[in-house]
């Protein structure tokens, strides 16, 4: 049985209004935490996007029937609609008339109507799910809706320095968050630890902040004295990783929306010093594409590809051979940003 929708949260994501309703605190809290920077008291009239999440007890309680004409788009385990390998969820994605249905089997089902800006999620016994998984499923839904309104995301960290952005895409374990923190602590302003938003303003691509908590592994913590010394009030314990809010540790603020200037593709090397290798645009685009979330609508996919291609044309792209001089990374990156100003 689907429980009654009660609580409502309102958000404004760079002008796009979002209404989220759920009857379950287990489904409300992670979303409110994820979008805390965007929360509003009210939205006035009809919001651009409406998302409802319901708690159900069994798979059979999900009130969705897939028609015979539905078309299965993908299935598998893991990288369903994104690259979060940690989730490792079996999934099946189906297009049924106007609805994109992402079925996560024993976890729940998402039904997304991108054209109408409407989505419903049915999560099975959400109180037994980790908050990060609820957050992940909501984010997935949100991104699918936002991309139809011209806001795209890639799996990257992003920072702003004097009105220019550095993007650091990459999967876990490549030094993405470590390089992010190294720049953050030197005074760069944070845009996002995981999913900055991209927008094509016509003349150029802009990076918009999507500030979220910063997840760190124990190995990353060891590189930074302030993280090593941080109490649990600042560096919170988590399931796979610990996390903190940038402003709790550094005198920083959320950065301005701005034009990206540099894209760094990090990988860790066993060398005393880090170095940069300029990448040809074609190779940079090749490296960037896997960091975009999967898209199932052809028109949207085309627009998203154009945005990424335009981004690569607009910036200098480097392979960052990330050595042991982690704290000195700003000395390598800042002159590149200053040079282009």
């Amino acid at each position: 049985m689907v429980e009654r929708v009660m609580d409502e949260s309102c958000f404004s994501l760079h002008g796009t209004s979002v209404r989220y309703t759920t009857g379950s605190p287990t489904l409300a809290d992670p979303v409110n935490e994820l979008l805390r920077h965007f929360r509003q008291d009210s939205l006035g009239e009809a919001p651009a996007l409406t998302i409802q999440f319901y708690a159900v007890q069994n798979r059979a309680d999900v009130p969705l029937t897939i028609s015979a004409s539905a078309c299965r788009l993908a299935s598998g385990t893991g990288e369903a609609v994104g690259d979060q390998r940690a989730t490792g969820l079996p999934y099946e994605v189906t297009q049924d008339q106007g609805l994109l249905i992402a079925d996560f089997h024993r976890v729940g089902v998402l039904a997304i109507d991108g054209t109408q800006g409407y989505a419903k999620g049915y999560l099975i016994n959400p109180e037994q799910l980790p908050a990060t998984l609820v957050e992940y499923l909501f984010h997935l839904t949100l991104i699918e809706l936002l991309r139809r309104r011209g806001l795209y995301t890639i799996h990257a960290t992003a920072l702003e320095h004097h009105g220019r952005a550095v993007l650091i895409p990459g999967n876990s374990g490549r030094g993405k968050t470590t390089s992010f923190i190294s720049l953050l602590r030197s005074g760069y302003r944070y845009l996002s630890d995981d999913h900055p938003l991209l927008h094509d303003s016509g003349a150029h691509i802009e990076v918009l902040p999507f500030p979220i908590k910063i997840n760190v592994t124990d190995a990353t913590v060891q590189f930074f004295p302030e993280l090593r010394k941080a109490s649990e009030r600042v560096l919170h314990p988590g399931v796979y990783k610990r996390y903190f809010n940038a402003e709790d540790l550094y005198p920083t603020a959320v950065g301005e929306r701005c034009q990206p200037a540099i894209v760094l593709f990090p990988h860790v090397v066993d060398a005393p010093q880090s170095r940069l290798e300029l990448l040809p645009k074609s190779r940079a685009l090749e490296a960037l594409l896997p960091q975009a979330l999967l898209v199932y609508d052809q028109a949207v996919a085309r627009r998203e590809f154009q945005v990424l291609a335009k981004l690569v044309q607009q910036v200098d792209c480097y392979r960052l051979h990330f050595g042991q001089d982690i704290l000195d990374l700003p000395k390598l990156i800042t002159p590149l940003l200053e040079k282009g100003r």
Binding site: S12, H14, G15, T16, S17, R36, H37, F38, R39, Q40, L43, G44, E45, A46, P47, A48, G117, G163, P209, P211, R233, E247, A253, V254, E256, R257, C258
Partner: protein
Amino acid sequence: MLGRQFSWRREAEVLVWCARTSMPEELKTCIRQRAMEPLDWSVLLNLAGYHGVLPLLYRNVSALCSNLVPADTLARLRQKTQAGALLNRSLAHELGKVCEAFDMQGVPVIPIKGATLAVSAYDDVTLRDFSDMDLLIPERAMGEARAILLAQGYEQKDPATESDHEEGPYHVFIKKRTLFRVDLQWVMAHQHFMFHLDRPEFWAQRRPVILGNTVVQGLAPEDLLIVLCVHGSKHAWEQLKWVCDVAELLRSHPDLDWERIFSNASAWGCRRLICIGLSLAYHVLDAPLSEGVRARYSGDMDVEMFSERMPATLLADPREGVHEEQAVALYFALKDSWWEQWRFGLVLCRDESSMVKSPPAWLHSRRSLTYVSRLIRPFQWAVRSLVPAPIRGALNRWVEHGG
């Protein structure tokens, strides 16, 4: 921190101390000490939200005494401030786009308040609470302005659907399915209150204001000060943020042309509204004002008295305050001359204003006003009965517009 006739309520005092971008060491010590004492933080947060000064409260509390604030209070304050900051930036970005569209079509526009005020007075778009874009346009350009906004995806709002719509022209546009709201203005109007914004002086003295990557044309600081003081008075300085605006503008512009300010204010009949704004900024928020400027209003007992009574909801005893619903009495009391005051008084008597029937206790002329009201009643009756409607209309216009 000046001595006060009417004290602030306990939490309000902390709010007043924190509602500024710079403060002396002595005040920082006061805030820390007060934070160590029992304080109802939820009351303080609600007051800050109502008075539109959450960003300033968060900035100062987090810098001065974050370890003394209950964790959940600080988290709530931070969340609201951060969300407000991103919304402000979105609005500033949208404002840049809208102004650019006006510029492309050759339609003059001046953003007043909002993002340009935050940058001009606070030097930080995130420190001032705002939620819309107030655009001054020439009255004659309304049609073109409307077309520009419609082309930008805005829809005009029907005034009938707006419950708190004040008197005067209403040209509000909302961008579909966003929080972006534009209010086109050429006059500031309220019940029995009218101040023209479409003035040649404002257009001639425009100054560039940098909003991120965009430059828009804002009011000159002298004109902005006049607009802020008139606007605050229009609302009986109900919210602390309006006093902050004046105080921060004074802090950020130490070299204002005071001759120009007072000369224009006198010509436009709002000299004492400027004085009350300055006096409030000085008394409430210790705004920097030279003795020479203060001397311009120091003999005005009404100005001194009113600056003790607003913002009313911060007073320990709000009954002592001047509330927004009493604003008409404030306009009456703060007319620049005896003649203007009593001409306005006649309008209030003619309209049988509730302010005439039950004037607030702080209004010195309340007895005279009631007396005049009784005195003119037979004349009113006679005029209504004997004078034809067109002549009555002409008489009314004469009373309202000065003959």
